[in-house]
């Protein structure tokens, strides 16, 4: 019990620190990095649910991110709905595409599934590039409205154009997302995903309808990725076809692998670590005048897989309770 209280205390302290950060540090660039790291936390966590927990290798995850971003941006700009609703619409439309992609995945596995998902993302990227009337092609959609200000009283409202206020929106979104993932992963649903990942025929033999579970997990994962994309659209206020690119997916999976695939904390740690690491490397690049960042990414990915398969989180695994993280 005291251990439990101790944990709760740490959690509360952590949350307090996260909320206090913008009050203490006013550097906009730092806050911008925090926001970007936060968006990646949502993305990596959603990829992790699909690939880490359910074992479905998805190499087209950026497509869901892009679909969310474009959907929300277009609905707000062309139809005029509120960006707040747009966030959810982004999630839902992306979830629908997740369901679509889930259909071929029922019969495919391993490399076949990996290529199909890449193909899915590439087709959508080309659509985003070439449906110029709708998406403005490779220029991207610019001038996306920010999240609408919330009017508290006639003279006072909260704007969401500053990094700081957006940071709070994102913080809440992340808490909700991670809360959902934690519940999902620890529930009957989560344990079923893990059993399906470990052994599909074994899971079938205890009554798991793997087809329906695959469809469900594709849909749920896509929803959160789409939501993250929509948040990004209204934060950056610019979406381009690059959002759907293979490079974006590779970033997501490098972060997750680095943090620890199939753990709750892994994607969070990986996203934050790599976002700040890449900024740190930007300094190095300025000094040596060489574009070394991506090379280091690649090496990190290789080294993680060869030598620390459970990622950074795995290094501290003796601090975890075994049931907690699914490993």
């Amino acid at each position: 019990m005291s251990q439990d209280k101790y944990n709760k205390l740490w959690k509360a302290l952590g949350i307090a620190v996260l909320f206090a950060i913008p009050l203490v540090i006013s550097d906009r660039y730092f806050l911008h990095l925090m926001v970007m790291a936060g968006i990646f936390v949502m993305l990596t966590s959603s990829w992790n649910l699909l690939t880490g927990y359910a074992g479905q290798i998805n190499l087209g995850h950026a497509a869901f991110y892009g679909i969310g971003a474009y959907t929300s941006a277009l609905l707000v700009m062309k139809v005029g709905i509120s960006p707040w609703i747009g966030l959810f619409m982004g999630g839902f439309v992306s979830a629908f595409f997740g369901l679509l992609l889930g259909i071929p995945s029922i019969r495919l596995s391993g490399p076949y599934l990996a290529i199909t998902t890449i193909g899915f993302a590439e087709i959508l990227r080309l659509v985003a590039m070439n449906w110029v009337e709708l998406t403005r092609g490779s220029l991207g959609l610019y001038g996306i409205p920010p999240l609408t200000a919330i009017k508290l009283s006639p003279g006072f409202s909260i704007e969401f154009t500053s990094e700081r206020n957006f940071y709070y929106v994102l913080l809440i979104a992340i808490f909700l997302t991670l809360f959902c993932f934690k519940r999902l992963v620890q529930s009957e649903f989560g344990i079923t995903l893990k059993s399906m990942r470990d052994d599909e025929p074994g899971a079938e033999s205890i009554g798991v309808d793997t087809t329906r579970y695959k469809l469900a997990v594709f849909t749920i994962s896509a929803f959160f990725a789409g939501f993250a994309g929509a948040l990004f659209a209204h934060y950056q206020r610019l979406v381009s076809p690059d959002t759907l690119s293979l490079g974006e997916t590779f970033t997501i999976l490098t972060m997750t692998m680095l943090g620890g695939l199939g753990t709750l904390a892994g994607p969070v740690v990986g996203a934050i670590l790599l976002t700040f690491l890449s900024e740190g490397l930007r300094f190095v690049e300025d000094m040596v005048k060489l574009n070394v960042r991506m090379v280091i990414y690649g090496f990190l990915l290789i080294i993680t897989i060869l030598f620390m398969r459970e990622g950074v989180v795995g290094l501290f695994s003796h601090y975890r309770r075994s049931g907690d993280t699914g490993q």
Partner: protein
């Protein structure tokens, strides 16, 4: 209309032959080692850079032949190095996800390292025919393109001879069909792995020279051929060499026809549409052999 059609089919066959050449190595490596290498197209990129240097040093025909040899050798060695350092340690605990991720890591490293070393500016490889074209009535094309077609067919022909006529070649095919039985024949599997990677990567290197000659040489040029090679490989069934050759031509022709009759912009997605349709109907590819149960 008629001549445009023929013209596009010919163009498709030419580019398709290069796709086949890249895919053949990919599918061979998959067949023997069950490794699905996302960095395969980067072997072509490295091969193309090898050609850039050789051609700068040796002009004309000698340069061309020299660069083919240099590309095959350099990339073959690179293939062996990557096999030993990156893939071999994973073979004992193979899971699809680890192998796919590690090859993606390799892809990122090779692509960006070459950007560091060679710079991002695209380079051209010289045309030993001085851009001469030939008109054959129904279609016209540059001699260079015909030469590339001929050359990749010759390369595939040699590979075919090697795999069918030599003891070592048959051993490679045998290993890919039944690893256990191959062990019992006294085939040194580890040796076969190394050889397969050297061969598969070397051919990709040669394909890179051809690809670079037709288009341009730049650090990220490997990404598209990788994806194309995967499409081809899946069309043909992973591990199936004949399938890869047919798949390459099918994709090449489908792309050029689709590009001219449907939409130029979506040309690069045609292959993906095809494989998604194919996989929906046949989860192991058009010519795929059933996986053991």
């Amino acid at each position: 209309m008629e001549s445009l059609f023929v013209q596009q089919v010919v163009n498709g066959i030419i580019i398709g032959s290069i796709y086949s050449l890249i895919a053949i190595g990919l599918t061979m490596i998959f067949g023997v080692m069950k490794i699905c290498n996302f960095a395969h197209g980067d072997y072509s990129m490295v091969g193309a850079y090898a050609a850039v240097f050789v051609m700068a040093w040796l002009p004309g025909w000698f340069g061309w032949i020299g660069s083919i040899v240099a590309a095959a050798a350099a990339v073959g060695i690179l293939g062996v190095i990557t096999e030993r350092l990156v893939f071999r340690p994973l073979l004992t605990r193979r899971t699809d996800i680890d192998i796919i991720m590690v090859s993606i890591g390799l892809f990122i490293v090779l692509e960006n390292l070459s950007q560091l070393v060679f710079g991002a500016t695209p380079r051209m490889l010289q045309d030993p025919f001085g851009s001469a074209t030939v008109n054959l009535g129904l279609f016209s094309t540059s001699i260079l393109r015909l030469f590339c077609l001929a050359f990749s067919c010759i390369a595939m022909g040699f590979l075919h001879l090697f795999l069918n006529r030599t003891q070592t070649g048959i051993a490679i095919r045998a290993t890919s069909q039944n690893r256990n039985a191959a062990l019992l024949m006294g085939i040194d599997i580890s040796h076969v792995y190394t050889l397969t990677f050297a061969l598969g990567a070397g051919i990709a290197g040669i394909a890179g020279v051809l690809y670079g000659t037709l288009f341009a040489v730049f650090p990220t040029m490997g990404a598209l051929p990788t994806l194309k090679a995967f499409v081809v490989t899946i069309l043909g069934g992973m591990g199936n060499l004949r399938g890869a050759v047919f798949g390459g031509f099918i994709l090449g022709v489908a792309e050029t026809l689709g590009g001219s009759y449907i939409s130029m912009q979506y040309k690069n997605s045609i292959g993906f549409v095809i494989i998604i349709l194919v996989l929906l109907i046949r989860p192991n590819g058009l010519f795929g052999r059933r996986e053991g149960t």
